[in-house]
């Protein structure tokens, strides 16, 4: 009898639980991550960060009272294919909003495909200059990463002769165009500027030019493996004695590849490092490694940005009362919210945020300065 009662009770509980799930309709959010291609390195940490954000959004009531469910798609593919993948989530599986961590070519393809009909949060570091209906950006732009940092380093390290080296595409070129102004304002000068093809993997001749230029600071906008190779050779030639290095896309993985031996006086500027010492950042890191294990893919600014994107999406949609683009666009300006990065404000559809400057000399980043509420020079009108 007792056994029967327990069985009955447990099956009733099961039915009630099922009812609870089906009663709360779910809002589907498309999350676009690079699982393949050059960005594939960041796929796992991006997925994990997004999943963590969804868990926290659901724990605090979801989006406008509805629990959210994430639908992932691989966008580490050519832009046209990435847009197709997003379209399948949108029209095929009913995604009502998108968060994307991918390159700019894919972003432009998506803007064309979404055509302002679905909210879309773009999260990684990017070159700026992108505005569209329903597009909200959390990623750092060059002005945020450099405007406070260049004068700070000029003063702290006493440097004034800057050499600019980057890969040959628009992000490095746009970054350097802005950097020149900040270098000028800090009383410094640009002693060299160079762009190398993405296919080149040795930098000997560039290093020789840097040496001959007499530069005492190098601004690096090389990406991924190119940045690793450049920085290893830079230290190999003993140039770390001559010049400090500042990178705007040197995250935890890149620094691990460069290695402690080659990272003397290497600085990185970003909205996020896994070693940020605030309570919010520390508890985020604890949650991350608790949820995904101590050997989970290392936290880094690009992967973590997916978390920022989802939290912003929830904040905007809750403020607007719906996931309707017109309502969200109207509500966006001046929205404030807090994340592991700090206190953020939406200004001109970009995220004014805390910028951290970290020193990688020891082979791991230690934050040496932080600059609160740095707005982007990019501004989209509403």
């Amino acid at each position: 009898m007792l056994k029967k009662t327990i069985n009955l009770l447990s099956s009733t509980a099961f039915v009630i639980a099922l009812g609870a799930i089906s009663a709360s309709a779910e809002t589907k959010i498309g999350v676009l991550v690079p699982d393949s291609g050059p960005g594939g390195l960041f796929g796992p940490s991006t997925r994990n960060s997004a999943a963590l954000a969804a868990k926290q959004i659901n724990a605090s009531g979801g989006i406008n009272g509805e629990q959210i469910e994430l639908l992932f798609a691989d966008v580490g593919v050519p832009p046209a294919e990435a847009a197709q993948a997003a379209l399948r989530l949108w029209k095929g599986q009913g995604a009502e909003a998108f968060v994307g961590m991918h390159d700019s070519a894919v972003r432009e393809a998506l803007i064309g495909r979404f055509n302002g009909q679905v909210p879309y949060v773009y999260t990684p570091v990017y070159e700026g200059n992108s505005c569209a209906d329903g597009l909200y950006i959390t990623g750092e732009t060059p002005s945020q990463q450099l405007e406070p940092v260049i004068p700070f380093l000029a003063e702290k390290e006493g440097v004034s002769k800057w050499y600019l080296i980057g890969h040959d595409y628009n992000w490095p070129r746009d970054t350097n165009a802005l950097a020149k102004g900040y270098i000028d304002d800090s009383g410094g000068e640009v002693v060299g500027e160079e762009y190398v093809p993405l296919t080149v993997s040795e930098f000997d001749s560039s290093l020789q030019r840097i040496k001959e230029s007499g530069a005492d600071a190098v601004l690096i906008t090389l990406v991924g493996g190119g940045s690793v190779g450049f920085n290893i050779s830079f230290a190999g030639f003993g140039l770390d004695e001559q010049a400090i290095r500042l990178g705007t896309l040197i995250e935890e993985n890149t620094l691990a590849g460069i290695g402690a031996d080659n990272a003397n006086r290497l600085y990185s500027s970003s909205g996020y490092f896994s070693s940020i010492q605030t309570d919010a950042a520390a508890s985020f890191a604890t949650d991350y490694y608790t949820a995904f294990g101590s050997d989970a893919p290392a936290l880094n600014g690009l992967g973590q940005s997916a978390y920022e994107g989802l939290i912003l999406l929830a904040a905007l949609a809750n403020k607007a009362g719906s996931l309707d683009v017109a309502a969200m666009d109207a509500a966006a300006e001046g929205t404030t919210w807090s994340t592991p990065r700090g206190d953020n404000t939406m200004i001109g559809r970009h995220m004014a945020q805390t910028i951290y400057l970290a020193d990688g000399s020891s082979g791991a980043f230690s934050v040496v300065a932080s600059f609160d509420s740095v707005p982007s020079s990019e501004a989209c009108s509403n």
């Binding site: 093809p197 993997s201 000997d204 493996g225 290893i232 190999g236 030639f237 590849g257 460069i258």
Partner: protein
């Protein structure tokens, strides 16, 4: 020409020669276009990562590198490659598949993230009036001596003569009692081991990740296209032209023009002189 440029040329040419040597042996001697060549460079570069993960002393890097690469090469030769001798196009497809497989296996074991390796010699030393990384100088000298030794062996040893006999006329070679299966396997494993050795030597100076091999395959291939197959002289000419052009134009003009020139040269050679400058007599 500035002394630094001379040293950069010596570095680029010597390292490319070491990287391309294995591809030249396997292609020239066995007529296998080994698209997985770069992956053996990659596996060699992971040897120091393996020893540091297992907490082994640094001197074990070389044995770990050679044993790992030789084992992988031997297994692949016995299971796949030996069926493809003399079938150039089939071998190209099969080894491309092997390359993908090896990348995925390394990714499964070590992950996609970058690894770093400390050089055994750090700092710079003053050579012909300029400060140059000490490790690079040691490597340039080592490769130079290694090639002298190898070319001496290649002209004198019975083994090299047997391989020549096997390649020139397999049936006759077997008829006079040569074990061609063993010779072929030996040549393939040897070629792959030189690639692994190149990876080990380059490891402290380059990025290390599962996809790194492709760079090395492409540049080695260009060097062989230009220099011609089947002789050490051709290899020397090819790597000098390819590495020299990139380094020289990169220094006096820009990296973009250097890379453009290398591509143009390779296309012109494939089109107009597909056997390269110094091809073997056959």
């Amino acid at each position: 020409m500035s002394p630094v440029l001379l040293l950069n040329l010596a570095w680029q040419i010597s390292t490319l020669a070491l990287i391309a040597l294995g591809l030249a042996i396997v292609f020239g001697k066995l007529r296998i276009m080994n698209m997985a060549h770069g992956e053996f460079v990659m596996i060699g570069a992971y040897a120091p990562v393996i020893t540091s993960m297992l907490g082994l002393p640094g001197w074990l890097q070389l044995p770990v590198c050679l044993i790992t690469v030789a084992f992988v090469a031997f297994v692949l030769e016995r299971t796949i490659v030996r069926h493809l001798y003399g079938r150039m196009f089939d071998s190209l497809l099969a080894t491309w598949g092997i390359a993908i497989l090896l990348r995925e296996i390394v990714e499964l074991i070590f992950g996609r993230s970058y690894q770093s390796v400390s050089p055994p010699l750090s700092g710079t030393i003053n050579v012909i009036g300029v400060d140059y990384p000490a490790y690079r100088i040691a490597v340039i000298i080592g490769i130079f001596l290694g090639f002298i030794g190898f070319s001496w062996w290649n002209t004198r040893s019975k083994m090299a003569t047997r391989i020549k006999a096997m390649v020139g006329n397999p049936e006759l070679a077997e008829a006079i009692g040569l074990n061609t299966a063993r010779l072929s396997a030996g040549a393939f494993v040897f070629g792959c081991c030189t690639a692994g050795l190149a990876g080990l030597i380059l490891a402290p100076t380059v990025r290390i990740e599962p996809m790194m091999g492709l760079d090395y395959l492409i540049r080695s291939f260009f060097a062989l296209v230009v220099g011609g197959l089947g002789s050490l002289e051709g290899l020397g000419i090819g790597v000098s032209i390819i590495a020299g052009t990139q380094t020289f134009l990169g220094a006096v003009s820009s990296q973009t023009y250097g890379y453009l020139a290398v591509l143009t040269l390779s296309i012109l050679f494939l089109w107009l002189k597909p056997n390269g400058i110094h091809s073997s007599s056959r």
